[in-house]
């Protein structure tokens, strides 16, 4: 009957359209995750040192899920146009597996984001920040990262210079409190990286030292990426859910 044919054609059209969108989103997800994995925003040593590899794992899963979505969307389009039961069954099952992986990736990215608290970075900084004598260039990765961070962002410590006063640290073992209430990098430096006013810096005179903490500068870039992976993935999954429901309905209506 004409009416039923029209409904069929509309449903097919919708499913094809849905699959096209899934394919494009899959490519976009792959691109975003590749960008995230390869982008060096300079904070990777800090994140590696926190022994938290989850965000990278979530991004790697995202790359493969994106490619799988693209391939499966093509399979889905062919299956819908040919109205083949087997093709569509394979499509649905593989899509469910991909859905599960992407779900894991989103939840991992969101959970990881929650774990990047100031306390985590504070503990890592106090344990690992170790300035060797200026003559040596053998600072470890965390120290170099923190130095660059404090220099570029005009900040000191995680919550402020008082971090170095409130807690014991590895830095304190080699640098006396009277000479170095906080590291030299917390002072306002001139072009030669020498404090503009060393006594002013040691006293803590406003204008000669950095009084802000660096937590905002750290958590900003990492946050954006993590939420990008988590929420974009979530959006794709919601759309995929609708398309899969439609496909299941279509499948159950195909005659042999």
């Amino acid at each position: 009957m004409a009416k039923s044919d029209d409904c069929v054609h509309i449903l097919q059209g919708l499913l094809v359209f849905g699959n096209v969108v899934i394919g494009m989103c899959g490519i976009a997800l792959t691109a975003e995750c590749i960008y995230f994995v390869s982008s060096s925003h300079g904070l990777s040593p800090l994140l590696k040192a926190t022994e938290d590899i989850d965000i990278n794992a979530a991004a790697w899963i995202g790359i493969f899920v994106g490619l799988a979505l693209f391939a499966l969307s093509i399979l889905g389009i062919i299956g819908v146009i040919k109205a083949s039961r087997t093709l569509l069954l394979v499509y649905i099952i593989l899509m469910l597996i991909t859905f599960a992986f992407e779900m894991a990736s989103c939840i991992t990215a969101a959970t990881h984001q929650d774990s990047l608290t100031p306390e985590l970075f504070l503990k890592q900084m106090l344990e690992s920040y170790q300035k060797s004598e200026p003559a040596n260039n053998s600072d470890n990765e965390v120290t170099k990262t923190w130095d660059e961070l404090m220099l570029q962002n005009h900040c000191c410590g995680v919550q402020g210079p008082s971090d170095w006063q409130e807690y014991t640290s590895t830095f304190r073992l080699t640098h006396s409190d009277a000479d170095y209430p906080w590291p030299r990098m917390c002072c306002v430096l001139n072009a030669q990286r020498i404090p503009v006013n060393l006594d002013g810096c040691k006293l803590g005179v406003p204008g000669y030292y950095n009084s802000n903490g660096c937590y905002n500068a750290i958590s900003g870039p990492v946050s954006t990426h993590a939420w990008g992976v988590a929420w974009f993935g979530f959006a794709i999954l919601c759309w995929t859910f609708c398309v899969l429901l439609g496909t299941m309905f279509y499948w159950s209506g195909i005659e042999y």
């Binding site: 649905i92 503990k123 106090l126 006063q165 409130e166 014991t168 006396s176 409190d177 040691k202």
Partner: protein, 245 residues
Amino acid sequence: TMLPLLLLLLPAAHGIAQLRYAPVLTQEPLEGVTTASTFVLDQPRCVFKDYGNADIWLVVALEQAISTFDNTAGPGTNETAFQSFPDPVRAYLTLNATLANYPCPKPDGEITVLRVGSETSCAQDETRPTCNGPLPGPGPYRAKFLALEGSVPVAETGWSEPIMLRTAKPLSSISTTDSGHSAGMIAITTILSILFAILLAGLVAMLVFWSSDSCGGSSTFSKPESVTVRRYNTHHVYDQPAARL
């Protein structure tokens, strides 16, 4: 006549002027007013106006030692050497200055402070007993200024309030384990779990539907390549015009 003479001599022997001032931690907004081994006092401007010839010393003492401190103990002796502080020396003299170092009045906008504990180079050097070395513990400490002409004390300020320095908490006390879960993460987890459960239920329903194969009542629609039904003529009714003659 001896008695008035004695009475005259007595005030001369205890001729230390008690100035109505006490050293105080600076009120300037400095981050390092107290650290673990230093503290910052305001300079005694306009306090020692009448003592242009005197050396003004800072006395730093343990809180318990202020009542036993002897003003005649000279600076730089064994009894007041910084290197033997806090045991057995319980108060030491440091930061030698004259009135010229503390001009009066204090110019506006300038930060005029004394950082007690800033000299680390002479902290172990016994040849520098008046070293302004870092303080060895969190305190409490008290301080006062003492003006000496030669070796004779001529004026002193009152003792400051007890000064406590900062103590650093151990690194292990930072707890990184209990980080809460944000609303976003909980939302993502619940919604995705529900969606996945619905899809699984749909898949199970599909498979049950397929295997039971009871597809009589559901609406079915034909495949796109519609099969055309051909009609076959069973009689050739158009074939006999020649028979009519």
